[in-house]
């Protein structure tokens, strides 16, 4: 399971870097989204993949040793998700304004305009 997740995260990183290197600014923003997904997923699995162990256990009520899964990464990922959401919203507004002002979504075309 962890191997599968590692491959998935690596694949997401690859997709995001591919998209970040594209000329189109729309794909750039999608690349940013994928980058934050990959990172969040990685953050999520840093607590380790444990099956059937709850995040909170009532230690007082039971005498046997209980294994609990680490709740901290879930708290971290919530914070990171909210921040990522805000940034994604901002970058979408930004590319919209960018398109309105310069009339193109192609970064190469833009640098040619800048030169001339």
């Amino acid at each position: 399971m962890s191997l599968l997740m590692a491959i998935l995260i690596g694949f997401l990183y690859a997709v995001s870097i591919y998209l970040l290197l594209r000329r189109s600014i729309v794909k750039l923003v999608i690349g940013i989204l994928f980058l934050s997904y990959a990172t969040n997923l990685m953050l999520f699995f840093t607590g380790g993949l444990t099956e059937t162990s709850p995040a909170f256990t009532d230690i007082a009520s039971t005498s046997e040793v209980v294994t609990a899964s680490d709740p901290l990464p879930q708290a971290l990922i919530l914070t990171a998700l909210v921040i990522g959401f805000g940034v994604a919203a901002f970058s979408m507004v930004l590319i919209y304004r960018f398109y309105k002002e310069s009339g193109t979504v192609d970064l190469d075309e833009l640098s040619e305009i800048e030169k001339s």
Binding site: L20, I25, L28, I32, L35, S36, A38, T39, N40, M42, L43, F45, T46, G47, G48, D70, L72, P73, L76, T79, A80, I83, G86, V87, F90, S91, L94, I95, R97, F98, E101, S102, L107, L110, E114
Partner: protein, 493 residues
């Protein structure tokens, strides 16, 4: 008292949102707010002389479980410097930035930026550090696009993407470190790293941190976003950026080097020196080949970051004191040169050196205001730039790191060259074809702001005998991270 530097900007943001339509109120409140932050920073610095470290646990959870806030001399000195430069910047912005931008949340975003900076300086928890960085970076995203001019939008795309990639690498590094050590508290991480053996993934996490903060601090080879984006917003905003964003990035490098990376010094010292040397050289060469005041000064930010990195790599009392002095001196001198550049723009209507001239003859005060911080950047006594360079070069020769020291010497000559270039072209050159003047009257607030920051630069240089004691204390604390660990985790042996 301890949380004031973070709480005051946050409270100011709420008040500024509530009174959005009243510009005079906004201006007054912003100035009041930075003065209270100054007061808080001074009181933290004074309290440190009793304890050495100030530690506060938010929510009352004991240290490695809750979020810890720690102040030592380094963070207190930088807090003080940030609030001082913020006073100058905000007064300058009142006189420089157009009313549209001022009404659309300029002061609000300044306070957001300050909240992020102060939080990042005080926090002792790496995930919390990420949150403060985001507070700071998101405020700067909006500041850099404020006004939505064409050039600003283009530049902000580069700025946004590079900073987001940096942030994501930062989070990935936090994840890796957490999975290896199971803690987020900086002191606890440092403590666990000192127990043998160190897990193998830790060094890759620290490398990711280095790249992430390398992007934020604009070191070689990640600096290209800075000169592409900094010159586009109004120069008052650029001046404030130059004093805060990259400096906090490099502060975190300093802190992380002291706590974590220093353990593997045979690997990290050459890396830091190489990056420092290349940062200095590329920054100054590109500055020397530019003809736009804003571009030259932006490239200089990059070049000066190289010096700070060099001080971090030297890791001795003189080297670290020099690095901290360099951060503070850059906050003052760089901001002051940007402000003086802005006044030149108001007076002549251009940033292009080829179109400028004769300012020394027609506006001697303006020329003088530019001269002091420019000499400081080049490193001429009695300005703080001289003392910073002196400390770094002394530490370099003392530690027998000759290559980096000689590079630093050569780069400082080139720095002097590009400062002299601005001086010759803008101040001394007879004006050939006078530009069609779009002269706006320079507001008294813009003069005041510039004079404040220039005075701070001079003051830092003249009182160096007194301030050096504090800098040396800060350096000694960084040299011995066990003090930091013991202050945060008193129970650990």
């Amino acid at each position: 008292m301890f949380f004031l530097p973070i709480l005051i900007p946050l409270i100011s943001i709420v008040l500024l949102i509530a009174f959005r339509s009243r510009l005079k109120f906004q201006q007054g409140l912003s100035i009041l707010s930075v003065f209270i932050q100054l007061f808080a920073a001074v009181s933290i610095l004074l309290k440190l002389s009793e304890n050495g470290h100030l530690v506060a646990q938010s929510g009352g959870w004991p240290a490695p479980f809750g979020i810890t806030f720690v102040a030592d001399y380094t963070s207190a000195i930088l807090l003080l410097a940030v609030s001082l430069v913020a006073i100058g910047s905000i007064i300058y912005s009142i006189g420089f930035v157009d009313f549209d931008r001022q009404k659309n949340g300029l002061f609000l975003l300044y306070q957001g930026l300050l909240a992020g900076v102060n939080g990042a300086l005080l926090t002792g928890d790496i995930f919390n550090l990420y949150v403060w960085f985001e507070v700071m970076v998101i405020s700067s995203f909006v500041l850099i696009t404020l006004g939505s001019e064409k050039t600003q939008l283009r530049a902000s795309v580069k700025y946004l993407v590079m900073n987001l990639v940096g942030s994501m690498l930062f989070v990935a590094a936090i994840g890796l470190l957490y999975s290896q050590l199971g803690t987020l508290n900086m002191a606890d991480i440092a403590y666990k790293l000192r127990l043998q053996p160190v897990p193998p993934l830790v060094n890759s996490a620290i490398m990711l941190f280095f790249v992430a903060f390398g992007i934020k601090a604009a070191v070689f080879p990640f600096f290209f976003w800075l000169p592409a984006s900094y010159p586009t917003p109004p120069i008052a905003i650029t001046a404030f950026f130059g004093a805060t964003l990259t400096k906090v990035g490099v502060y975190v490098m300093l802190r992380f080097y002291s706590l974590f990376a220093q353990l593997d010094v045979t690997f990290w010292q050459p890396v830091i020196f190489t990056v420092a040397a290349l940062t200095m050289i590329f920054g100054v060469l590109m500055a020397a080949s530019s003809y736009d005041i804003r571009k030259i000064l932006s490239f200089h930010i990059v070049s000066q970051i190289g010096y700070i990195l060099m001080g971090i790599g030297l890791f001795s009392v003189a080297g670290l004191a020099g690095a901290i002095l360099f951060i503070v001196h850059n906050m003052f001198s760089k901001t002051a040169t940007f402000m003086a550049g802005g006044l030149i723009y108001l007076y002549k209507g251009s940033y292009d050196l080829k179109k400028l001239g004769w300012i020394y003859k027609t506006k001697p005060l303006l020329a003088f205001l530019f001269l002091i911080p420019a000499l400081s950047l080049a490193g001429i006594p009695p300005t703080p730039g001289f003392f910073g360079k002196f400390l770094l070069l002394y530490a370099g020769f003392d530690g027998a790191h000759y290559t980096i020291t000689i590079v630093a010497l050569g780069v400082s000559i080139l720095t002097l060259f590009s400062m002299v270039k601005i001086w010759n072209e803008a101040m001394w050159k007879p004006e050939e074809n006078s530009v069609d003047l779009v002269v706006k009257k320079i507001q008294p607030a813009a003069w005041t702001g510039t004079i404040i920051v220039v005075a701070l630069t001079l003051l830092l240089g003249l009182t160096i005998g007194y301030t050096y004691d504090y800098l040396a204390d800060a350096a000694r604390q960084l040299l011995d991270p066990s003090l930091y660990i013991k202050a945060v985790l008193p129970e650990q042996p």
